[in-house]
């Protein structure tokens, strides 16, 4: 394996790498053992914790929290795809009076922290807990997705829309029949990874006490008087779901590359992807 940084290792280098591998692994295990030992000394792993954690009502609470998280995230992702598509089309419009307001909306909701938006929608618009959270998530993620969609549409080679105009299609038709179907395959991985972000973001509903998975796990922590295990279980649930979703995104991307459907320049979309991956 030769990479940018080093040549293919010879027998000596390989032996050195093996020794370093062992040393690093030992150090990592020691660090982990130290953390676990400290938590053990604090009584986080004592028998009563495991007994309490195996109560059925604890698992009901987790299940309720998970459902609340999934429900809010699912509504938000559907609505933000719709909202994002509308905004993207508006931003690609030929008319400046459509383009400009759409741009202001996108730039505003992308730059303002989601937490502020949740508080504002909840206290200001009086929509109720669930819909406040969903609306705020939609405004934020819709604006992010709008940029993804726009980049995706622009990434379709220009010859495609030129050809469509040349055979007499109207702008509406070009968008709907030529650009959208081609760009959706480019954008699908980005949409899936946006789902990960929305799932994590629902946890911010805590600021208005929406009872999702994190809030439930903190409730359990208060109930059994131990913090680490209940929160770690919630983290494990999130990691499992989100990791599977990101594997799905990678799979979709690879499949599209194999089929040769992602015709556009992927560079543009990559930057946007990196930007939104860094979301909350």
């Amino acid at each position: 394996m030769s990479t940018v940084l080093f040549d293919t290792p010879g027998p000596k280098a390989q032996a050195r790498h093996r020794i370093m591998t062992v040393i690093a692994a030992v150090l990592a295990v020691l660090l982990l053992a130290w953390v676990l030992w400290k938590l053990y000394e604090e009584g986080e792993f004592q028998a009563s914790v495991w007994e309490d954690m195996s109560q059925p009502n604890i698992w009901e609470a987790y299940w309720k929290g998970l459902l609340a998280t999934l429900k809010a995230a699912a509504s938000a992702i559907v609505l933000s795809v719709v909202f994002g598509a509308v905004l993207a089309i508006a931003r690609l419009s030929d008319r400046a009076w459509v383009r400009f307001p759409a741009r202001v909306v996108v730039e505003f909701f992308r730059a303002v922290p989601l937490l502020l938006q949740i508080m504002f929608v909840y206290f200001g618009l009086g929509l109720g807990l669930y819909w406040s959270l969903v609306l705020a998530l939609t405004l934020y993620n819709g604006s992010v997705l709008a940029e993804v969609f726009r980049a995706g549409m622009l990434a379709v080679p220009q010859g495609q829309s030129e050809a469509a105009y040349a055979i007499g299609m109207r702008k509406n038709q070009v968008m709907r029949l030529v650009l959208m179907p081609q760009s959706i395959t480019i954008m699908l991985p980005a949409i899936v990874s946006q789902c990960v972000i929305v799932l994590k973001d629902t946890a911010l509903g805590q600021i208005v006490s929406y009872r999702e998975l994190v809030v439930e796990s903190q409730g359990i922590a208060g109930f059994i008087h131990h913090t680490f295990v209940p929160l770690a279980v919630a983290a494990a649930i999130f990691i499992t779901i989100n990791y599977s979703l990101s594997r799905l995104a990678i799979y979709l991307e690879a499949r599209m590359a194999r089929r040769g459907q992602s015709s556009g320049q992927k560079v543009d979309l990559g930057t946007i992807n990196a930007a939104q991956n860094a979301g909350v």
Binding site: M1, S2, T3, V4, L5, F6, D7, A13, H17, M20, T21, V22, A24, A25, A28, V35, K38, L39, E42, E44, F108, A111, V112, P113, L114, L115, L116, M119, F120, F123, G124, L199, K200, D201, T202, A203, L204, Q206, I207, V214, S217, Q218, T227, F228, L231, A232, A234, A235, F238, I239, N242, Y243, S246, T271, A274, A275, N277, A278, G279, V280
Partner: protein, 226 residues
């Protein structure tokens, strides 16, 4: 509008906390993230595994949960007095713990940004450097890293922008930064919510604008024709 002017000192104090959070967690997460990226591109298998594990774990957990765990676990590990002061400014242990939680989350994204930068340098560049007789350090210092650094600027800037927005999350745990001030003010003056929201939002927009302008400037400044 009056609400904003009457409480200006409180709002500014909130934003100064936001900026300190941004500065500290920016520095910590850059150091930790670069270290993790070097783990992930190193030839040592266990270091690669540690880097991958860290990124997958921290990137897929909600920030709120990471902060809650950090606030609980860090004192348990024996770090009970992390507070310090710079000039007149005091930073208490809780503030630093929140910063560490924020940094450990952001480090996963910094790691991926840096790694993608290193990987984006074509392998031919390093091969060419070695074939003209440069040593490992020379090829890294003169050929690979200067190019990697430039490609890293845009994704790194996005990471810092996200971090600036993410600092608001510590409001949930009662660190008195800008989002916390907004919550407090909107409880006190609920009729003025629009002004409060737009005022605080403007502050964040300014911070985001400064970061992205700086990044664009740096990118142009360092741009090379390839």
């Amino acid at each position: 509008m009056d609400t904003l002017i009457d409480n200006l000192d409180q709002i500014l104090r909130g934003f100064s906390n936001t900026l300190w959070l941004l500065l500290f967690s920016g520095i910590f997460s850059t150091i930790l993230g670069t270290l993790l990226a070097s783990f992930r591109v190193s030839p040592v298998a266990s270091l690669q595994a540690i880097g991958t594990w860290y990124v997958n774990t921290f990137r897929n957990t909600p920030l709120v949960l990471i902060l809650a765990l950090a606030i609980y676990v860090i004192p348990v590990l024996g770090f009970n007095s992390l507070g310090f002061s710079i000039g007149f400014r005091q930073f208490d242990t809780f503030f630093i713990v929140a910063t560490l939680g924020l940094s450990s989350y952001t480090a996963a994204f910094v790691c991926e940004a840096v790694r993608s930068g290193v990987n984006s340098v074509p392998a031919g560049q390093a091969e060419a450097a070695r074939s003209v007789g440069m040593s490992f350090t020379q090829s890294l210092r003169l050929v690979v890293l200067p190019q990697a650094f430039r490609t890293v600027i845009p994704p790194l800037a996005s990471t810092y922008i996200a971090l600036a927005k993410n600092t608001s999350v510590v409001a949930i745990f009662g660190v008195p930064e800008a989002a916390y001030v907004m919550r407090k003010l909107s409880n006190q003056y609920s009729s003025d919510l629009w002004a409060i929201f737009l005022g605080i939002a403007l502050g964040y927009i300014l911070i985001v604008a400064v970061i992205s302008t700086a990044a664009t400037f740096l990118e142009r400044r360092l741009a090379v024709a390839r």
